[in-house]
Assembly symmetry: C2
């Protein structure tokens, strides 16, 4: 397939990428070899599809690049979309990879006597302050958030915040830090996202790509 006008697809660094690459291969997208070179400082890569360029950025930045038109489409977790809530981002497709959940967790000993339904104010360390505030506001709870960009699970034991909101996959990291989930905020999977303006101006090319992803997700032959 040739993407005549040139499309930019933003993909996320990290764990999600290892699940995404096989899916992209089934869609027919193969990045150039240097993409797999762990030492490269490059951020932008060609693919086997003429006119389709990949950029590899952090998951949060995938949403921002797509929202502001720096990329036409991208793959990022539903957690990112919840956090930013960009009106310019359209998320047509659940890719059914990167499955995890956004949960509130706290120390085991606190959870034994705590009742989230009785909170009116709560202090939370998280990478997702906006999503967390919004979620608790619907229940009338004021969530005062301390924004961290990582190492969130350290916050309770170091006395920064008793409670955290974070992505949970197996629960192993929580367990190792003496924490337990007390409330599920959202089930998370990766989504294919598209810039709304591009969706109008380059609909033919974007449609073809989105349809191919859709067919692969549905298990149909492409």
């Amino acid at each position: 397939m040739r993407v005549s006008d040139g499309l930019i697809l933003a993909v996320p660094k990290g764990r999600l990428l290892t699940q995404l690459l096989p899916l992209m291969a089934r869609v027919g997208i193969e990045p150039e070899l240097d993409f797999h070179n762990e030492k490269t400082r490059r951020l932008s890569f060609k693919t086997n599809m003429e006119g389709l360029t990949l950029i590899r950025v952090r998951s949060f930045d995938v949403a921002t690049f797509v929202a502001f038109g720096g990329a036409h489409l991208g793959v990022t977790g539903h957690d990112t979309l919840l956090e930013f809530d960009y009106p310019e981002v359209y998320a047509p497709l659940d890719l059914r990879i990167g499955r995890c959940r956004l949960s509130l967790a706290e120390p085991v000993e606190l959870a034994a006597k705590d009742d989230p339904l009785r909170w009116s104010h709560v202090r939370i360390a998280t990478k997702y302050p906006q999503a967390t505030r919004r979620y608790f506001a619907t229940r009338g709870v004021h969530a005062e958030c301390v924004k961290l960009s990582g190492a969130v699970e350290l916050a309770p034991s170091l006395g920064l915040c008793q409670r955290i909101v974070d992505l949970v996959e197996s629960g192993q990291t929580l367990k190792e830090n003496g924490l337990v989930e007390v409330e599920l905020i959202a089930d998370i999977t990766a989504r294919l996202i598209v810039n709304r303006a591009a969706w109008k101006t380059q609909s033919a090319e974007l449609d073809v790509l989105v349809d191919r992803f859709q067919s692969v997700i549905n298990g149909a032959k492409t």
Copy 2:
């Protein structure tokens, strides 16, 4: 030296750490061996000083952990302090490592005809939206910032934002992306930072550590 009550020192992941470790060694702080194991998922490490624990987190999170009392002291770049401007963080010491600058850059062809002194409104992609807005506000310029967590140098060529504010060391990354510095916002070095409340309640122990760093910086024998 024994740190009787227990102190947490937050150190930043990444490039700055390679300059920091020799300096810490001269201060007399040696992390446990597992700290150097690149595959470890641990975030917290013992040291040769009884009672002194290291946590290794992102540079931005060093400031947050120290500000909220999750760590007693830390090492982070002046850029981080400019961005967060935490009143709870005291920065007594310039460590004279991690030297770089926070600069505004734009494409070479734009710079040829652009005059920053004539701006009234400017759109900027950056990891430092608060520091950028504050800097330009003092000149009466409204800076509308698009927050990215990395890959900032990609923003101009992808049409996200013509101008960026980012850390510049050698200038090589800018050059590779067809960008040129047009304004210096701040000279940056790493700072030793201390939580103000801890500085009062555990002043004896913190004083000893800060003095040791000071002596090493001054080139005196310790």
